[in-house]
């Protein structure tokens, strides 16, 4: 049986760990490669790197960074941030990223999803969506709206519709990131996660809000997620990946226990 996945998310800027996780351990400052290796050894099933300051100018730095990570970890990892073309996606794949994540750029130009999916395959094309709860309207029947540019710009698009469109255009996975839950440590947005997971035929990754092991359990058992994304809960040393998996295993969730 397929295991539920634990995915660790690292924010990077110009090849260095971004501030949010910079203070974990003094000797790790600025070295996301070391951190990635540590999570790999600790049983993370997958890693995702968000290049939070991606631009044309620092693209080469990002590629070098991806190559360095790929030489150190032997589990899948994806890279997101600033991917706007087939060329961007192909270069990241060749540098060693298993998957690429598109977000705002795909909302602005939908064809980006089908272009990338056509070039590197649906299995390597991940659509990340930032979602905010809103009032139910005719345009937003689910009451969940897609936002872009780090949550600053409402798009008027219904999250469930967008998930279905993304699947149709060739996304192989969806990251459902709740802007409301993000950073609260109060748990994932379970209603949203479940609505999307039940509406599409591709795997859904719950993101935003993990603060304790129970939250991961809920994401799988209640939210119907295929994978759960964690960040600060492991970056600040509160829990190791192994501890999170031990907990999930004890609650009857199938996770990869030998690594």
């Amino acid at each position: 049986m397929l295991s539920k996945r634990l995915i660790v998310c690292l924010d990077v800027r110009e090849g260095k760990l971004a501030k949010s996780i910079k203070f974990v351990d003094t000797k790790d400052i600025g070295d996301p490669v070391l951190k990635a290796r540590q999570y790999y050894m600790d049983g993370a099933d997958e890693l995702v790197f968000y290049d939070i300051n991606a631009s044309r100018a620092n693209r080469d730095i990002t590629l070098k960074f991806v190559e360095a990570v790929a030489a150190q970890i032997f589990i899948p990892f994806s890279v997101g941030g600033g991917i706007r073309s087939i060329e961007d996606a192909t270069k990241l794949r060749l540098a060693g990223a298993e998957k690429v994540n598109v977000n705002s750029a795909a909302v602005k130009r939908k064809e980006l999803i089908s272009e990338i999916s056509g070039a590197i395959g649906a299995q390597s094309t991940v659509l990340s969506m930032d979602v905010k709860k809103t009032t139910k309207t005719r345009e937003i029947p689910s009451g969940y709206e897609i936002v872009i540019n780090d949550g600053t710009h409402m798009t008027g698009m219904d999250a469930i519709d967008w998930a279905k469109i993304g699947e149709k255009l060739g996304a192989g996975e969806l990251v459902v990131n709740s802007i409301d839950a993000d950073g609260t440590k109060d748990g994932y947005e379970l209603t949203l996660t479940r609505m999307i997971a039940d509406s599409v035929g591709i795997p859904v990754i719950a993101s935003g809000g993990a603060g304790k092991p129970e939250h991961l359990y809920e994401a799988f058992a209640i939210g119907h997620a295929d994978a759960a994304l964690v960040a600060s809960i492991v970056h600040y040393g509160e829990y190791t990946c192994r501890q999170l998996k031990d907990y999930l295993h004890s609650r009857g969730i199938k996770v990869r226990m030998k690594f």
Binding site: A71, P76, R93, E98, I120, I202, A227, R256
Partner: protein
């Protein structure tokens, strides 16, 4: 020399990096002539069968793989390398290399809550012992990402299964050809160990010890 075949199908670099990690010397090559000289060959690939077969034909690599197989060179197929060695693939109804009798088929899942592609970590049940499957325990998991899988016509070519809404074949073999549907290069420690076993494999398969128990 271990040759990793480059025919424009996906993440060749990841395979080589995994070789580096395990101390295996390898070269990436798009040249059919190199396959003749190679002591071992890895035939990786992700993507669609029709495109892959087209590239293999155009470059002459398909013919070179057949010759290397006939010459007894140990070959390890990964993912697409486990699919296009059968007679044909349902994906685009594509005629394939035919080194193993059978067809590559798409998942047909009764359970509609199961997603396609099958992406993630899954355990592997060994049906027949093989040097490359030695020491694999039923709790060891490997990384899969695929919508199609190889279905050999004869049980003797089927070495392991995995379970996704029912059992499906995830390891096929015929003499000096062995291939897995999962990605050893992305499967952590157990995947790297499989690559190490391949680097030592002489291409022979010991006489059948019969089907292995659960």
């Amino acid at each position: 020399m271990l040759a990793i075949i480059d025919y424009g199908a996906g993440n060749i670099g990841s395979v080589q990096r995994a070789c580096v990690e395990t101390g295996i010397q390898s070269v990436i090559t798009p040249d059919p002539a190199d396959l003749k000289k190679a002591q071992r060959i890895i035939f990786p690939g992700v993507g669609a069968a029709p495109t892959a077969m087209e590239n293999l034909k155009r470059t002459g690599l398909g013919e070179a793989i057949k010759q290397a197989f006939a010459a007894g060179t140990p070959i390890l197929g990964i993912c697409l390398g486990a699919q296009v060695v059968l007679d044909r693939s349902e994906e685009g109804d594509t005629p394939c290399l035919g080194l193993i009798a059978g067809t590559t088929v798409r998942f047909k899942l009764q359970d509609k809550s199961l997603k396609i592609p099958h992406i993630g970590w899954n355990s592997v049940k060994v049906l027949q012992q093989h040097p490359l499957l030695a020491d694999i325990d039923k709790e060891d998991e490997f990384y899969f990402v695929h919508s199609y899988y190889p279905q050999p016509a004869k049980p003797e070519n089927m070495f392991a299964v995995s379970d996704y809404g029912g059992e499906f074949c995830c390891a096929v073999g015929n003499k000096n050809y062995f291939a897995v549907q999962f990605h050893p290069e992305k499967s952590g420690r157990f995947g790297l160990e499989m690559l190490q076993r391949f680097a030592r494999w002489d291409g022979s398969v010991p006489a059948k010890s019969g089907a292995k128990g659960k």
